[in-house]
């Protein structure tokens, strides 16, 4: 029995001292870089090669020959960007709380993070439906397809991250996230930050650079 426990300790042995789970999530993030690089590469390669409107940053003539405003709406997305940035800040504080065993800090900031994330997804849903309302369907032109695909896949990642954070929140509310298990939140947080940095790239590349 004694040696069974000794062996149980060996299960935490790693040659580098980095926890397996943490190394795994970073490896996965490295791989995801290539996923988003491919999507961004396709978006940029096709930028400006549409055979018809709508256009992201310029006025365009619709099918009826009416001049339309540019598609992208910067104030709305700036608001979403700020939400995502703050959520990254909040989840760091939540993790800090988890590591110190400060339950209030953990749950409070985690709820704030999720709140921001939900609003970001809501912003994107509103943006997409607004664009659809203005006549930009998924297949309308190359800009529409590349834009919806790139930002849509980012939105899907945000949604998955939210699902993960909400699961961790439920675990925390049940009191099952003691400091020695803070890594479970740290993994979700790392993924969340990654989704944030991808948006830090998408925001200027898609919305601000004309």
């Amino acid at each position: 029995m004694a040696h069974a426990e000794a062996h149980a300790d060996e299960h935490h042995y790693t040659a580098t001292g980095i926890d397996n789970k943490k190394l795994a999530i970073w490896t996965f993030i490295g791989s995801e870089c290539m996923f988003f690089a491919s999507l961004i590469g396709v978006y940029l390669t096709y930028k400006g090669r549409d055979v018809s409107g709508p256009k992201p940053h310029a006025e365009w003539l619709d099918k009826a020959g009416v001049l339309q405003e540019q598609m992208l709406e910067i104030p709305l997305v700036t608001f979403g960007t700020a939400l995502l940035l703050f959520s990254s800040f909040f989840v760091v504080l939540a993790l800090n709380g988890a590591q110190r065993g400060n339950r209030k800090q953990l749950i409070g900031w985690l709820v704030a993070t999720i709140f921001c994330g939900v609003f970001f997804v809501g912003m994107q849903v509103y943006e997409f439906s607004h664009f659809a309302h203005r006549g930009m369907g998924y297949t309308t032109n190359l800009f529409a397809s590349t834009f919806y695909t790139l930002t849509g896949f980012h939105g899907t990642h945000v949604t998955l991250g939210l699902l993960w954070l909400i699961s961790v929140l439920v675990v925390a509310l049940r009191g099952k996230l003691p400091p020695e298990k803070a890594l479970n939140l740290e993994m979700a947080a790392l993924y969340w930050h990654f989704v944030d940095v991808v948006w830090i790239v998408i925001f200027p590349v898609v919305y601000l650079i004309r």
Binding site: H3, H7, A24, S31, M34, T139, L142, S167
Partner: protein, 612 residues
Amino acid sequence: MATTAIDHAPAHTHEHTGLWSWITTVDHKRIGILYGATAFFFFLVGGLEALVIRLQLMGPNKTLVSPDTYNQLFTMHGTTMIFLGVMPLSAMFFNYLIPLQLGARDVAFPRLNAFSYWVFLLGGILINVSWFTGHAPNGGWFGYANLTTKQFSPGPNIDFWTVGLQVLGVASLAAAVNFFVTTVNLRAPGMKMMHMPMFVWMSFITQILLLLSFPIITVALILLMIDRTFGTSFFVPTGGGDPILWQHLFWLFGHPEVYILILPSFGIISEILPVFSRKPLFGYAAMVFSGAFIAFVGFGVWAHHMFATGMGPFADAFFSLATMIIAIPTGVKIFNWIGTIWGGKVDFKTPMLFAIGFIAMFIMGGLSGVMHASPPADLQQTDTYFIVAHFHYVLFGGAIFAISGGAYFWWPKMFGKMLDEGLGKLHFWLMLIAFNLTFFPMHILGLNGMPRRVYTYSAESNFELLNKLETIGALLLGFSFLVFLYNIIKTWRTPQPPVGADPWNAATLEWSIPSPPQHFNYPTLPQVHGRDALWELKARHGGPLPEPQRVAEDAVLMPNPSWKPLVAAIGVTVTLGGFIGGSHLWVHVAGVAILLYGIYAWAFEPAFPEHH
């Protein structure tokens, strides 16, 4: 290392036999065997497809199969051999050997490992189910748009391909994360990176390639799938898209993929040659760095597959030069292998024969490869049988020779029995002769202008004689694998004295433990001080080590078996499978529900049994 028997209560409640124990297994050795058996089955299916192709081409104007079936055959042959044959056969070795050679008890994430296997199995089944619908993929293994866009391929054929490859990609990525972490983190105490066996090194580099290249093909497949399902124009010129972009995305993955296919074989060879030459691997560090260099530069050469698209002189020159540069580290490796044999006490056992066969065949494939690094030469050779000859020399003459050698080499470790040496030699010589008979004439046919993937040819073309020879060779090649199968069955049925832990007097840690190893591999984690850990230990001991004793099966706490990975794998497959023949919302929903259930059940079940 010193394995002392621990007296212990023999009572053990775990079910270790029966179908259920295989379905729920998280043991890397069992998963390795599952990978091997499944991949060998798919390999035989792909081989049968090749034989039908060869019979169709045996003479001019034959109509053994219809042109459309022929398209499906060559597409599925390529797809099967690459994604369901060679890659998972390599995965068998990753699974079985990486933890053993590192001196570890299992991989870093045993359940994720089971998940990878199940996703691979289901993906393989999904692609092959297409045969029963009569709509197997028919757009070639690289699925060029716009041949594969909706306009020119309206049936569900290509859907099976785009969806199946995405499913297989999930399996490869999950496995790659797992083996990357395992290699970095689970090395035995004292084993530095530069102490790792060369097989682990080459496999490690392969995982990096998988991690960095599979996301690219995933995006390409998603875009093609969206084009086909929702009518977007990513690869449709009338909507502003460009089919050439498909080729770039595909080959950005496709070229690293060829190293994903061959680097594990480099590793296998690098383990076999030293043991049967009784000499350490020549130029260990050079081997590691040339492998890393090949992988790194391998990301910058993809467009050598696209010279015929007319990329312009700058791109042609760049990709041509980069490709030629890769020949240098590859040459370094070949000289190092020869240097390993040089002056050694060479023992021509079956694994060694395959290893030497590998070197010879791979050199031939490499030489023809450098030829089409030059755009003017490539423009003559591209899309001809010359290319078919080239990649079969590297993939069959290379990977399959190495994998066969590896099978003979590690068989006693995996099953505790030696494969028959005489039948093994017969297998080797038959395979060597049949392989060259099948594929060497393809060089000549290609240079004479026989196009690749062609359904048939005219009698006036003078292609008949060489094609006949190739078909005879192919049948003989198929027969050589029957010899291998017979060898397996015979070995299975014939009683044998136990082979012991170290039948080859080998250099690496897996040979220090009983054959087959116990569930936990190592009762106590080995201490490592340098390369060729077992040879070093034997040298210190001044001779062969005493036979290791088996200890009680529950001496070490091992992870619980679990069926949740299978559930999650079904979820992934169903979710993506909903994209075959259009998007079926309820299938996606069902798939996501199964997936979520699998993941949550998995996340909240205890990984290890409670302490007793």
